[in-house]
C-alpha cells in the first residue's frame, strides 16, 4: 500500500510497472454553455439507465440534481445577482494573491505571477448564470477505493478509479468513503433505455448492475483503445478537456491567470492542490465562485487520510489502557 495522504503518483502507489502518465479532466466552467451533451454522451456510451421521475426540479435548468449511480456527469445551473458576483470576484482574488500551490522549484520565474499585472475588474455585470459539469474526481487518495473490502474498486494504469461490476458485492462502504458524494449503489427504481430501436416500444430492458456501486470510469474502456472519454469528446466548446493530468493542471493554471489578467478574479481552481485532503484530484475544475455554490465540498478530505493518526491514537489509547490496567493491577498489588 502506498501513501494515504499528500502528494504522490497514484499509479506508482498502486504498483503499476510502467510509465503511463496519469490521465484526467480539466473542466473549464467559464466556457460551459450548459448543453448537457456530456450527460447524454456519458449515458449513451455507458448504457446507464434513465434517472429520476421525469419531473421538473424547479432548480433553474438542472433537472438531474446530483451525480449518482446512473448519472456520472451532472451540469449544475446557478443564477446569481450582482452582489454575489462581487463577492466571488473578491474571494477569488484573495485566493490567488495568497498564492496558489505551485509546481516546480520556487526559483523559476513564474509566468502565473500576477503581482505586476493590472487586474482592475471590468464592470461587474448585474446578473450571471453559472454552469458547471461535475464528474467523479478520481482522487489521488480515493476514499472509495481505500475502504472497499472486496477489491471491486481498483486503480487503473491511467491513475483513475474504476468499479469492477462483477466483483462488487454492494456492501456500500465506498458510498460513505467518498468525500464528494459521487459513488452510489444503483437501485432498480428507474427504467433502462432500449439499446435497439425495436425495443423502444416493447418491454423495457432490465436495469443492469442493480445493487452494485457505480460511478464514472473515466471511460476506462475507451482509454484502453486510445479514445477520448465520451463527455470530453461530445463537449462542443472544449469546456471539458481530457489529457495527461499534469498538462491539465498546467492548462488550468494558465487559464486562471488569463482570466485574472482580464480582471475576472472570480476564477479559481478546484482539485489542483495536491496538498488538499485528497492529495489533489484527477479531475480538476476552473470555478467562478466558491465550491459550495456548485454543491462541491470546500475542503474535501479522504477519511483514510486520518488512518495513521487514528491508528496512532488507537495505539496510544491501547497503550494507555494497558498502562492503566497495569497500574490498576500493580496498584492493587501495592
Amino acid at each position: 500500500m502506498g501513501q494515504l495522504s499528500g502528494p504522490t503518483d497514484p499509479t506508482v502507489d498502486a504498483h503499476w510497472e510502467h510509465n503511463h502518465p496519469r490521465q484526467g479532466f480539466f473542466t473549464d466552467t467559464s466556457i460551459c454553455i450548459g448543453c448537457k451533451a456530456c450527460e447524454v454522451a456519458c449515458k449513451e456510451w455507458n448504457h446507464n439507465p434513465r434517472d429520476g421521475n421525469l419531473e421538473l426540479l424547479g432548480s433553474s435548468y438542472d433537472n438531474t440534481g446530483a451525480l449518482g449511480a446512473s448519472t456520472w456527469r451532472h451540469v449544475a445551473f446557478v443564477e446569481q445577482g450582482q452582489e454575489r458576483i462581487a463577492e466571488a470576484r473578491e474571494s477569488g482574488r484573495a485566493l490567488v494573491n495568497l498564492g496558489m500551490p505551485r509546481i516546480g522549484p520556487p526559483s523559476e520565474p513564474d509566468p502565473l505571477d500576477l503581482s505586476e499585472v493590472d487586474t482592475t475588474p471590468p464592470d461587474t455585470p448585474d446578473f450571471r448564470w453559472l454552469m458547471s459539469s461535475d464528474v467523479c474526481k478520481h482522487c489521488t487518495h480515493a476514499g472509495c477505493l481505500d475502504v472497499c473490502p472486496t477489491g471491486a474498486l481498483f486503480r487503473t494504469e491511467f491513475g483513475t478509479v474504476v468499479v469492477q461490476d462483477d466483483v462488487c458485492n454492494g456492501c456500500g462502504t465506498c458510498v460513505a468513503g467518498c468525500p464528494f458524494g459521487v459513488i452510489e449503489r444503483r437501485s432498480d427504481g428507474t427504467a433502462a433505455v432500449a439499446a435497439q430501436r425495436e425495443e423502444q416500444h416493447a418491454e423495457h430492458p432490465a436495469v443492469p448492475n442493480v445493487g452494485v456501486a457505480q460511478k464514472c470510469t473515466l471511460c476506462y474502456d475507451r482509454l484502453l483503445t486510445d479514445e477520448t472519454p465520451a463527455c470530453a469528446k461530445a463537449c462542443p466548446t472544449t469546456s471539458i478537456k481530457f489529457g495527461d493530468h499534469e498538462d491539465m493542471v498546467q492548462t488550468a493554471r494558465e487559464r486562471v491567470a488569463e482570466l485574472h489578467a482580464k480582471g475576472l478574479t472570480e476564477a479559481r481552481l478546484y482539485g489542483a492542490n495536491e496538498l488538499d485532503g485528497v492529495g489533489g484530484t484527477g479531475s480538476v475544475f476552473l470555478l467562478l465562485d466558491e465550491p459550495e455554490v456548485y454543491g462541491l465540498p470546500p475542503d474535501p478530505r479522504v477519511p483514510t487520510a486520518d488512518l495513521p493518526r487514528m491508528y496512532r491514537r488507537a495505539g496510544v489509547a491501547v497503550a494507555g489502557m494497558l498502562a492503566a490496567a497495569a497500574v490498576a493491577f500493580l496498584g492493587g498489588r501495592a
Partner: protein, 899 residues
C-alpha cells in the same frame, strides 16, 4: 465567425439551439472577440456573452434602425466601401415617397388589396422613367397594378430591366439611396430605443460603440440570427435592417463579417437549396405562376433580364439544365424543354394556407415528413382540425408523433370538439430511417454540404426518404403506365432510375451526381460538370440544382471530404463542399478595396494579383477571376460580362449591395418599425401600428388580441415568446421519445420574472394557466431573474417565455401542453412565415380547466376583451394620416401624394 472581432447575436439563442456551431463563437471569444447577446431573455447564450441586453420582443427594427442612424450621424460608415460597393449613390425614382412623407406607409399602398404597387420604389432612369422589373408583368408608371406577391420570386426576384443606373457619387442628391436611408432612420434615436425596446441609453451606447469600434479596415463585426428574427409579420425586414447596417460598416464579403443565418436543424439549409418550399425550384429558381409565367421565355424574362449584371442573367442555362435533369430526352427545344410539365402556382400555398384549404375541404391528402404540425406549427388547434377534414394522412416519422395520434388523444378529443368515431381521416404511419441508417448529405448554415455515411441498416420496415419516394414514384408510374392522358406525361417522362442496394435503397451518390449535373452530348458526354459556369441553355447539360454543380466534379464526392482543419489553410476548402463552387465566403471580392488591394493585412482574404492578372487568396474568388479591378465594361453587355471591377455583389442586378431594395420585397424598400399583430405597446414612430402588408386571416378560429390604443388590450396584457431548449428538438419527435433527453427537460414550463410572479401570485414550480384568444395551456412555473420586466413608453411590459417542445399524447416519454396552441396565424408577406416570436396573453396561477370548461374559459376572455374577427386586422391604422380617403379604402387606389 472565428475571425470576427465582435459578434452580435440577436434573434437567436445560439449557444442553446446551435451548440455545435457555437464552438466558433467560443473560438472567436478565445481570440479576443466581444460577444453581445440581444434577446428578451437571459439565456445560455447570454451566460457566456460579454454582455446581455434585454429587448422587448418584436422591437428589433427600432434598435437596428437606431444603429444605422448612429453610424450615419456620427460619420462612422465605411466611406470607400459604401460608395463603391453599395447602391448608396444610385438615384431612386422621383415618385417615391418615404414613410416620413406619409404617416408610416411607403408610396404605392393599395388599401383595397392590402398590398403595395412597388413601381415608385424603382431606380430612376436617366430619362426620368423607372428601371422596372423585367418581363411582361411589369407596367411602367402604373399606379394600381398588383405587383408580384412574395411567393412569385425566387431568390433571383430582385431583378432589373438593365443596369444603366443613374448615380450621384457625392451621395448628396436627396433622391440618392444614401440620403433616403439617412432621412428614413433620422427618428430612430437612442430615446426611441429606450421607449420602444426598453434598452437604456448606456446599453445602447455600449452596443453602438462596440460594433463601430470593431468595424472598418482592420476589424470586422459579425451578426448571427435565427428564427427570433424571421418569425415576425415583418421578419424579412429585420434581416434587411441588419444587412443595411453591415453594408454601411463594410462588414459583408470579408472574414469575420457578414450575417449568419443560423438554420434550425440538420439540412434545413439543404431543404431550401433543393426545396421543400411551395414557391421554389432547386437553386432558388421560382415556381412558375399561372398567368404570369405562361411560357418559358416569359418565365425566364421574369427571373432576370439578359441586360442586367451578374450571374442571374444566365438563369436560362440553370432552368433548362434542371428540366433536362428531370425529364431527360423528353425535354426538347421544340417543347420548350418540357417547361409545361412544371406545375403552376395560382396563389400562396404555404403550410398555413394549406391547412385553411383543408378546413374548407379543398385538400384531400397530406404527407407529413419529419414534421409534427400538431405540436410544432402555429395555432395547433387549426392544424389538428384541418387534418380532421382530410381523407388521408401519411405520417412518416421515427415515432408515433402527435400528428399521427391527434384523432384519438389530441386536445380536441378531450375538449369534446372532435370525436374519434366521427373522424373520417385515414391515417397511415410509415416508419422512417434515422440519420445513421441512411446515406446522404446535410447542408448546414454555412452552405456546407457534408456527407453522411450509412452506419447501420434501418430496422424492420423503416425506410430512407430516398427509398420511400423512389418506391412511391415507381408505383404511381406503374399505375399510369400506358396512359395517353397529357396530364400524366410529367410523371411518365421523369428520369426515374437509380441503382439500389440489396434492400432496395437507392444509391445516394447517384442522386448527388444527378444534382451535380453532367454533359449530355459531345466528347465529354456523361462526364460530371465541375462548375455551374459550364451549364448551357441549349440542352447539352443537365443539373438538378445549379448551385450544387461542382460537388461531384471529376466523379468525386467532395461533400465527403474530411481533411482536418489543422492540416489545411484558413478557409479549409477540403472539409465538405460549400455551394457555390466550394466558396466559403460569398461576395469575397469585397474583402479587397476598389483597386483590388486588401483593406488591411489583418483582414486580407482575396486580392488582385497584377502579375498573374487574376484574383487570388485564401478562398475561391467570388468574381470573374480575370476581371481587373479598374475595368468598366458596358453595362449593356449583360450578365457576368457586364460586371465592373468594383461590382462585388455578383448576384445583384447592378452588382452592388442594396441599402435600398428597389424590387424584390413586397412590404417596403426599407425596414420600418411596425408593432406585431398583437402588441400592448403603441407604435411611437408612426401612426401605422402594424405592418400594412402583413398577411392577416380574419376568421372566427383565428382571433387576434386587441393592440395598444384599443379597448380590451388589458385582458391579454402580457407578451409571450416561444422558443427551443438545447435538450429538445423542435416539436419533440426526435427528443421526447428518448429517455436521456426527456429526463433533462421533462415538463412544459413557463419562464416568468419574480415581479410578474408576485403580481399574479404564481408559485415557483407550481402551475400556471396561460390564455390567448386562441387557446389556454398549462405549464409549470419557473420564476427567474433571467426574465426582466422592461419599462417601455412609461409602462412595464412583462414577457413570458414558453418553450414549445411538448405535445398532448401518450406515446412519448414526456408530454405536456403545446405552446404553439396559443399562437394565431399572421404571416410575413414576403415569405409566408408565421409570427410566433411575439403575441399577447394573460397568465394566472393553477392548472387549466378540462373538457368543455377549457373552451368556456377561452370564450370568456374573448368576450371580456371584445375581440371580434375584425380586431387587429385592418391594413391601415389611420387612413387619413396616409392620405387615404374613406372612399379609397372601398375602391382601391394609390396612396401616393399624401401630406
Amino acid at each position: 465567425m472565428a475571425n470576427a472581432d465582435c459578434i452580435i447575436i440577436q434573434g437567436s439563442n445560439m449557444a442553446e439551439c446551435h451548440p455545435v456551431g457555437f464552438q466558433w463563437v467560443a473560438e472567436a471569444k478565445a481570440r479576443g472577440a466581444k460577444v453581445i447577446h440581444v434577446d428578451p431573455r437571459f439565456t445560455r447564450t447570454s451566460a457566456v456573452a460579454d454582455k446581455h441586453i434585454p429587448i422587448r420582443a418584436g422591437s428589433d427594427v427600432v434598435l437596428l434602425g437606431a444603429l444605422i442612424n448612429y453610424v450615419i450621424s456620427h460619420d462612422l460608415w465605411f466611406k470607400e466601401y459604401v460608395t463603391a460597393y453599395t447602391n448608396a449613390a444610385t438615384l431612386v425614382h422621383e415618385d417615391f415617397r418615404d414613410t416620413e412623407d406619409l404617416g408610416g406607409l411607403f408610396s404605392g399602398f393599395d388599401p383595397k388589396t392590402g398590398a403595395y404597387d412597388t413601381a415608385s420604389w424603382s431606380y430612376a432612369e436617366e430619362t426620368g422613367d423607372v428601371i422596372d422589373e423585367p418581363g411582361p408583368g411589369a407596367e411602367h408608371g402604373s399606379g394600381t397594378s398588383a405587383r408580384a406577391a412574395g411567393d412569385q420570386f425566387g431568390s433571383g426576384g430582385p431583378s432589373l430591366e438593365h443596369a444603366q443606373v443613374h448615380r450621384d457619387d457625392t451621395l448628396q442628391d436627396p433622391r440618392s439611396v444614401f440620403q433616403i436611408v439617412k432621412r428614413h432612420y433620422s427618428r430612430y434615436t437612442p430615446e426611441m430605443v429606450r421607449d420602444m425596446c426598453g434598452i437604456d441609453a448606456a446599453d445602447f451606447e455600449y452596443l453602438a460603440r462596440t460594433i463601430t469600434e470593431n468595424s472598418g479596415r482592420e476589424r470586422t463585426t459579425c451578426f448571427a440570427y435565427a428564427v427570433g428574427w424571421t418569425q415576425h409579420s415583418l421578419g424579412t425586414q429585420f434581416i434587411r435592417a441588419a444587412a443595411i447596417l453591415q453594408l454601411l460598416l463594410g462588414n459583408v464579403g470579408r472574414p469575420g463579417g457578414g450575417i449568419m443565418a443560423l438554420r434550425g436543424h440538420a439540412s434545413i439549409q439543404g431543404s431550401t437549396d433543393i426545396p421543400t418550399l411551395f414557391n421554389l425550384l432547386p437553386g432558388y429558381l421560382p415556381v412558375p405562376s399561372a398567368g404570369r409565367h405562361d411560357t418559358l421565355s416569359k418565365y425566364l424574362d421574369a427571373i432576370a433580364s439578359k441586360k442586367q449584371k451578374g450571374y442571374w442573367a444566365n438563369a436560362d442555362a440553370y432552368t433548362i439544365s434542371l428540366l433536362k435533369a428531370w425529364w431527360g430526352d423528353a425535354a426538347r427545344a421544340e417543347n420548350d424543354w418540357a417547361y409545361d410539365y412544371l406545375p403552376r402556382l395560382t396563389g400562396a400555398h404555404g403550410t398555413y394556407e394549406t391547412v385553411m384549404g383543408m378546413l374548407e375541404d379543398k385538400i384531400e391528402g397530406y404527407f407529413l415528413l419529419g414534421q409534427n404540425p400538431a405540436v410544432g406549427s402555429a395555432h395547433g388547434r387549426m392544424q389538428r382540425m384541418g387534418m380532421s377534414h382530410l381523407k388521408w394522412l401519411v405520417v412518416r416519422d421515427l415515432n408515433l408523433i402527435e400528428s399521427a395520434t391527434w384523432w384519438k388523444e389530441g386536445p380536441e378529443i378531450e375538449s369534446g370538439e372532435l370525436r374519434t368515431e366521427d373522424i373520417e381521416t385515414e391515417v397511415f404511419f410509415m416508419p422512417a430511417a434515422t440519420h445513421v441508417e441512411k446515406a446522404g448529405s446535410f447542408t448546414q448554415t454555412q452552405r456546407l454540404l457534408q456527407w453522411r455515411h450509412q452506419a447501420v441498416a434501418p430496422p424492420g420496415e423503416c425506410q430512407s426518404e430516398l427509398q420511400f419516394f423512389y418506391e412511391l414514384g415507381k408505383r404511381i408510374r406503374a399505375k399510369l403506365a400506358g396512359s395517353d392522358d397529357e396530364r400524366d406525361r410529367p410523371l411518365l417522362d421523369l428520369t426515374w432510375d437509380y441503382p439500389t442496394d440489396e434492400h432496395g435503397d437507392p444509391d445516394a451518390e447517384a442522386v448527388l451526381a444527378e444534382i451535380n449535373g453532367r454533359y449530355l452530348y459531345g466528347p465529354d458526354a456523361g462526364k460530371p460538370l465541375s462548375a455551374f459556369t459550364q451549364l448551357r441553355p441549349d440542352g447539352s447539360t443537365s443539373a438538378g440544382c445549379w448551385i450544387y454543380t461542382g460537388v461531384y466534379a471529376d466523379g468525386i464526392n467532395h461533400a465527403a471530404s474530411r481533411k482536418p482543419g489543422r492540416e489545411q489553410g484558413p478557409a479549409a476548402p477540403e472539409w465538405g463542399w460549400a455551394w457555390p463552387a466550394n466558396r466559403r465566403i460569398l461576395y469575397n471580392r469585397a474583402s479587397a478595396d476598389p483597386e483590388g488591394k486588401p483593406w488591411s493585412e489583418r483582414k486580407k482574404y482575396i486580392w488582385w494579383d497584377q502579375e498573374q492578372g487574376r484574383w487570388v487568396g485564401d478562398d475561391v474568388p467570388d468574381f470573374p477571376v480575370d476581371r481587373a479591378p479598374g475595368s468598366h465594361p458596358d453595362p449593356d453587355l449583360g450578365g457576368p460580362a457586364a460586371l465592373s471591377g468594383d461590382d462585388p455583389f455578383i448576384m445583384q442586378a447592378d452588382g452592388k449591395g442594396w441599402l435600398f431594395a428597389p424590387t424584390g420585397l413586397v412590404d417596403g424598400p426599407l425596414p420600418t418599425h411596425y408593432e406585431a399583430q398583437e402588441s400592448p405597446v403603441a407604435n411611437a414612430l408612426y401612426r401605422q401600428q402594424q405592418s400594412p402588408a402583413r398577411l392577416v386571416f380574419p376568421r372566427a378560429d383565428n382571433l387576434s388580441a386587441p393592440s395598444a390604443g384599443t379597448s380590451g388590450v388589458d385582458v391579454y396584457p402580457f407578451v409571450f415568446t416561444t422558443y427551443r431548449l438545447t435538450e429538445h428538438h423542435t416539436a419533440g419527435g426526435m427528443s421526447r421519445w428518448l429517455p436521456y433527453l426527456s429526463e433533462l427537460q421533462p415538463e412544459m414550463f413557463c419562464e416568468v420574472s419574480p415581479e410578474l410572479a408576485a403580481e399574479r401570485g404564481l408559485e415557483p414550480n407550481g402551475w400556471a394557466t396561460i390564455i390567448s384568444p386562441r387557446s389556454a395551456i398549462e405549464a409549470r412555473v419557473l420564476v427567474t431573474e433571467r426574465m426582466t420586466p422592461l419599462v417601455v413608453g412609461g409602462h412595464t411590459v412583462h414577457q413570458i417565455g414558453l418553450p414549445y417542445h411538448w405535445g398532448v399524447g401518450s406515446n412519448a416519454v414526456v408530454s405536456g401542453d403545446a405552446a404553439n396552441d396559443l399562437l394565431g396565424v399572421t404571416l410575413d408577406p414576403n415569405v409566408q412565415i408565421q409570427e410566433s416570436k411575439v403575441a399577447s396573453c394573460d397568465i394566472r396561477p393553477g392548472r387549466r380547466p378540462r373538457g368543455a370548461d377549457l373552451l368556456a374559459l377561452v370564450a370568456e376572455y374573448q368576450a371580456r376583451s371584445g375581440t371580434t374577427i375584425a380586431t387587429g386586422n385592418s391594413a391601415v391604422t389611420d387612413p387619413a394620416a396616409e392620405g387615404i380617403g374613406a372612399e379609397d379604402t372601398g375602391e382601391g387606389g394609390s396612396a401616393e401624394g399624401g401630406p
